[in-house]
Amino acid sequence: MSEPIAAKVLSLNNVEVVYDHVSLAIKGVSIDVPVGGMVALLGANGSGKSTTLKSISGLLAAERGEVRRGEVQFLGRSIGGLMPQDRVKLGIAHVLEGRRVFEHLTPDENLIAASAVRSRNDMARNKDRVYSYFPRLHERRTVASGYLSGGEQQMLAIGRALMTQPKLLMLDEPSLGLAPFLVAEIFQILSRINREEGLSVLLVEQNAIAALEIVSHGYLIESGRIVMHDAADALKRNPDIQEFYLGGTDNKNFRDIKHYRRRKRWLT
């Protein structure tokens, strides 16, 4: 389906995650993110998108999950045994679902807090860079972050991730609860960062229409398995994807859609 990729920043190989010793979340997930590439991971609720991201950033332990099988490789190196903070030092940044800004700190302080793993000299430069991408944050930099709007908090969460000078930026549903025009704005900025700095991006989204506009490749995850992956354009043209994730085709009875949906499953 997809052409062989030369340099990979991230490669998941048959990763299997089990929560609380007994409950399987994802099984046999393999994902490649090329250097400087922008890849989307699409799927319905509970299909294992966030678990996949957590297996990369190392946040599973906090939720009693563990990678049972498979390997997570970052820049050709297996990072399975590393703590989350050490993975950040290698260059993995995870923008959590639901933003999670430090509410009692101002945006400025949030950004400073995020530069702990980089040298002090880089801080001012990184901050300028974040403020140039998100001018709105600069205007609001002295307000407690808890008082920012949802969109501003999302920008702050992305900015905070950028402060760690990542090589791979992972975003977990950045469009969650945002107005469509804000989603468009944030996605434009993301694609600009990707273009200008060559930063690799792994984007987890429910909003498939918006996501497929900016990525080059897409993976489709269903019930913990990758069921399809292809170039974004090919995915957009795929009739199944159109029907299940892009809002359906015209003049089709809703009763038929439900019926069809229950029957049709991709082979793994």
Binding site: V18, Y19, D20, H21, V22, S23, L24, A25, R68, S223, G224
Partner: protein, 357 residues
């Protein structure tokens, strides 16, 4: 394996909502009940009255603390004081000629009344502040009991508890006292097992998880916290009364001091917050482990012929006991009950490694 789920089909709601839907659990409960009922037949009186009996009463008490700590998620550092209120109320009621079975109910009601009046004030604060104000309850009760002669019978005094009479029959044999403790423990366990299937139990868990989220679905969090305090105080009061009636036979303020509160807390935390079987394990661990450790070290010393100083012999078991608590909590932060749960889960899905959610 043991707890196989395959082939178990529930054909009506009653079967599906049963307390123990899996036959292996039911069999285990039946076997344990038979073993407990027959305990006086095969256990010598020393083990029966100085290990089994306090273990059962303390398990009931730990379950009461688990209600407030594990279910409702509220700190309580003055639990022993509430047990003390119950113990003193029961003894005084008995000395006034009230039959024991009514006296222990009065003891529970007294503890619930004082506990909830106190909770009214304490529940205005949350988290660590609440922990500190419940600690205040402990100190206030300690002081009141030991400084009001009408309650304690004078400073440094020990108040003798009259013998138990149930429906006019005196209960003095070891087996009889054991059965009293067993019945109380089973009653509390049944109540707690059923609690999670009731509206009250769900409301308590909702309040624990996020009290403002509970508020926006119409659950009055203050009211349910208060109910949790009252219920757990009732269990504490009766447990205190049963502990005096069946085990200590006399009541002094030291039996319900602050370190006993900490011990009760340790039972719940070592056993596992919100875990019923964990309360059994936790109470057993905290009560019996020091003695077992002592015996074990003396045995080791005798076996290998090295002599231990009296100081070392006194402190070594405590050090090992502390290390064991830390060890178990490192293996499984959710307590002994969760270790049991993990083993059970493993057997449930055996020979597979996991289930698909």
């Amino acid at each position: 394996m043991l707890f196989r789920q395959a082939g178990i089909f529930h054909t009506d709601y009653a079967a599906d909502r049963a307390l123990f839907p899996i036959p292996a659990d039911r069999w285990m409960i039946v076997i344990l009940l038979v073993l407990a009922l027959a305990a006086p037949l095969y256990m010598n009186t020393l083990y029966l009255s100085s290990y089994m009996l306090p273990w059962l009463v303390w398990t009931a008490a730990a379950l009461g603390l688990n209600l407030i700590l594990g279910w409702a998620g509220q700190f309580h550092l003055g639990y022993a004081a509430v047990m003390g209120i119950g113990a003193y109320s029961a003894v005084h009621a008995q000395r006034a000629g009230i039959p024991w079975e009514i006296a222990i109910v009065l003891a529970g009601l007294m503890a619930a009344a004082i506990g909830s009046v106190f909770a009214f004030a304490a529940l205005r604060v949350k988290g660590l502040y609440l922990a500190l104000s419940t600690l205040a309850l402990q100190f206030v009760m300690d002081w009141t009991i030991s400084h009001v002669p009408a309650i304690s019978g004078g400073t440094q005094a020990t108040l003798q508890a009259p013998d138990i009479r149930l429906l006019g029959w005196p209960v003095t044999s070891d087996a009889g006292l054991f059965y009293v403790a067993l019945v109380w423990c089973i009653l509390v366990t049944t109540f707690m097992l059923n609690l999670r299937r009731t509206a009250l139990g769900r409301a308590l868990v909702a309040v624990r998880e996020k009290d403002y989220a509970a508020a926006v679905i119409g659950v009055n969090s203050f009211y349910f916290k208060l109910v949790a305090f009252a219920t757990s105080s009732f269990i504490a009061g009766v447990s205190g009364a049963v502990l005096i009636g069946t085990f200590y036979h006399a009541v002094t303020p030291e039996q319900f001091s602050v370190d006993i509160s900490i011990q009760a807390l340790a039972m719940v935390i070592v056993g596992g917050l919100g875990s019923i079987i964990g309360s059994y394990f936790g109470a057993a661990f905290i009560l019996l482990m020091p003695g077992l450790m002592n015996a074990f070290i003396s045995w080791l010393a005798a076996q290998f012929g090295f002599s231990l100083g009296i100081e070392t012999l006194a402190h070594l078991p405590h050090a090992l006991y502390g290390a064991l608590i830390i060890g178990f909590l490192l293996i499984e932060p959710l307590g002994l009950g969760k270790i049991y749960g993990n083993i059970r889960d493993y057997l449930l899905v055996w020979p597979f490694g996991y289930v698909k959610k």
